[in-house]
């Protein structure tokens, strides 16, 4: 049996959307054709079509005068008409849709993609929530870290009331929100709006108890799933149903995460964080170098992907707890892949195409700004040779910064943060580590790359 899908929408979203839907429904019923119709009107998207249904559908009828998110139908036979046609000639539209040749190759491809996506979705759900928190946190960290770094222009310690002290206060306020926002938006990602309140509160408690970013991550996940559970499982008599979102769920979810943080998980996590901090501080140089090298290699492995983000998040989290070594390693390691490819194109231009030489110039700027993604064009074109080169160069840079005991007090900025006095301890050695990492990357790239 051929199944059809339809989407209806109109500018005001009050009448035509629904009349077209009803017309199509009626015509399909007369013909005994199964059809599902998504309406996008003033009351929102109703009866939304799922990727699974798109994969199974024979064809899709779009009767709309506004945008209906057509991208999701890529590869499927689509009939697109103004919404009025949906009302006027529903029967003809259905006949036309049924007559469409299902482009099997395409639809199978779409189907395959969809299954891949949905399984990938399941695996990465935790990562996705975490990254939602991280992406909301980063602006605070970047602004806060850089403003604190700028405040060091006025000396590393400030007297109360001086401009340097005020800058420090601004930066500190931003940094102080970091764990709170991280936790809040992890929970928001899990449970939607009801997750935000308990997530934020869990994050504040984590900050004030000294449980740091690990506590914040945990608080975010617990708060999010608690809120989600409450929404789904609390049943109230219909008259009181309205109280659920505005009273019951906020009260219970905040209470749950608050009590858990204070009486159950806060202290152990604080102990863990303190332990981690002490361990990183007292680490022998051999271990430090290994840590720096591993973080560095992770930065270069997927340049902006999950490994890169994990290493960066770890270092940024420690920065928030006053541990400044890993972030230095991570930034150096994130700068060397694009700087390395630039150097490689300079040393042996004949090995590269014109385009690659141009991309190399751009990569140099991106590298100096700590935008690792600048090396992606090179990594993507020849991953088996390029990625290992990047990883080794970055591991060298990361290991060296740890060996040199470089401390970095800002989470981003590349070369520009090095120009701020006191933002980086041991600036010369830090630059040396970056230069060595860059040279190693460039030499390996040229050694492994085949001449064009």
């Amino acid at each position: 049996m051929k199944k059809l899908l339809a989407v209806t929408a109109c500018p005001t979203g009050i009448a035509h959307t629904y009349m077209a839907a009803e017309s199509l429904q009626k015509a399909a019923k007369d013909k005994n054709i199964p059809i599902k119709i998504e309406t996008r009107g003033a009351v929102g998207v109703e009866n939304e079509i799922t990727p699974q249904e798109i994969a199974e559908a024979h064809a899709i009828i779009i009767a709309a005068d506004t945008d209906v998110d057509e991208g999701r139908f890529a590869g499927k036979p689509v009939i697109k008409v103004p919404v009025a046609q949906g009302i006027k000639i529903p029967s003809e539209l259905i006949d036309r849709a049924l007559a469409k040749e299902a482009s099997t190759e395409f639809s199978q491809k779409v189907q395959a993609n969809e299954t891949n996506q949905s399984s990938a979705k399941k695996q990465n759900v935790v990562y996705r929530h975490l990254m939602n928190g991280v992406s909301h946190m980063l602006p605070l960290v970047v602004a806060g870290g850089l403003i604190i770094a700028i405040s060091f222009i006025f000396g590393i310690t400030h007297e109360e009331g001086t401009f340097g002290a005020q800058l420090g206060k601004i930066g500190g306020s931003a940094m102080g929100l970091m764990v709170t926002v991280l936790s809040g938006y992890i929970a928001f990602s899990i449970a939607g709006k009801p997750g935000l309140a308990p997530g934020l509160v869990g994050g504040v408690l984590s900050t004030s108890m000294g449980a740091g970013f690990i506590g914040g991550i945990l608080a975010g996940f617990i708060a999010g799933y608690a809120a989600k559970w409450l929404i789904q499982n609390i049943k109230l008599p219909k008259n009181f149903e309205g109280l659920k979102p505005i009273l019951i769920v906020p009260l219970l979810s905040v209470l749950i995460i608050g009590l858990l943080m204070i009486y159950v998980i806060g202290e152990p996590i604080k102990a863990l964080m303190d332990g981690l901090t002490t361990w990183l501080g007292s680490m022998g140089s051999a271990n430090k170098i290994v840590l720096g090298a591993v973080l560095g290699a992770m930065m270069a492995l997927d340049m902006g992907g999950p490994f890169n983000k994990t290493a960066y998040t770890f270092a940024v989290g420690l920065l928030g707890s006053g541990v400044y070594g890993p972030i230095a390693a991570v930034m150096a390691a994130g700068m060397t892949p694009p700087l390395g490819v630039w150097l490689a194109t300079m040393i042996a231009p004949k090995k590269f195409t014109d385009e690659e030489r141009q991309a190399g110039k751009v990569a140099s700027i991106l590298g100096l700004s700590f935008i690792t993604e600048g090396a992606i064009p090179f990594g993507a074109s020849d991953p088996l040779r390029m990625i290992p080169s990047f990883m080794i160069g970055s591991a060298v840079a990361g290991g060296l910064t740890m060996l040199f005991d470089v401390m970095l007090r800002a989470p981003h900025g590349g070369l520009f943060v090095l120009l701020i006095p006191n933002a980086v301890s041991n600036v010369l050695m830090y630059m040396l580590a970056i230069v060595i990492g860059t040279v190693v990357t460039a030499l390996l790239v040229n050694l492994l790359k085949r001449t064009k």
């Binding site: 005001t12 629904y18 009349m19 839907a21 017309s23 009107g41 929102g44 006027k88």
Partner: protein, 151 residues
């Protein structure tokens, strides 16, 4: 929520004696103003006429549904008119309009129960037996009863 909150005797016109689409719109809007659901008549009429310009709200089958979303509307409301002669409404199927529902919705009115009723009404209008009942109704009370029963 019931249909009485959307329309009343004052906004049901059986019949309405007009010659043109614009006339019909003005008369029906004026009835909504009298019933207290429109505060700025001109702003609302302008919104409705602008909507008609985009594309006719004559949905065919002799029915038109002029509507507008405007800050001049204080509460969602409905007017119904059956015309004593057919009005050219530039309809989708070319047929003139013999009756019209006018829908007024405040600017900041999204996702509430009133909208749900208007949605249900729009859906119902597709069905011939529903339209026939509206054509046959003799009094405003009958119209309200038909709406209450079907929506």
């Amino acid at each position: 929520m019931n249909i009485h909150e959307l329309l009343n005797h004052g906004t049901i016109m059986l019949p309405l004696d007009v010659d043109t689409r614009e006339d019909a719109i003005r008369q029906m809007a004026a009835s909504l103003e009298r019933s207290g659901s429109i505060t700025h008549l001109d702003a609302y009429i302008e919104a409705v006429l602008r909507r008609e310009q985009q594309s006719s709200t004559g949905i065919g089958f002799g029915v038109a549904i002029p509507h507008g979303k405007s800050a001049g509307v204080s509460k969602a409301s409905l007017a119904f008119a059956r015309f004593n002669k057919s009005i050219d409404w530039d309809s989708l199927d070319g047929s003139p309009a013999t009756m019209a529902f006018m829908i007024a919705v405040p600017e900041a009115n999204v996702g509430n129960e009133h909208l749900q009723i208007l949605v249900a009404l729009s859906r119902k209008l597709i069905h011939e037996d529903f339209r026939q009942q509206l054509t046959d109704a003799q009094t405003p009370d009958e119209i309200i009863e038909i709406l209450a029963k079907n929506i």
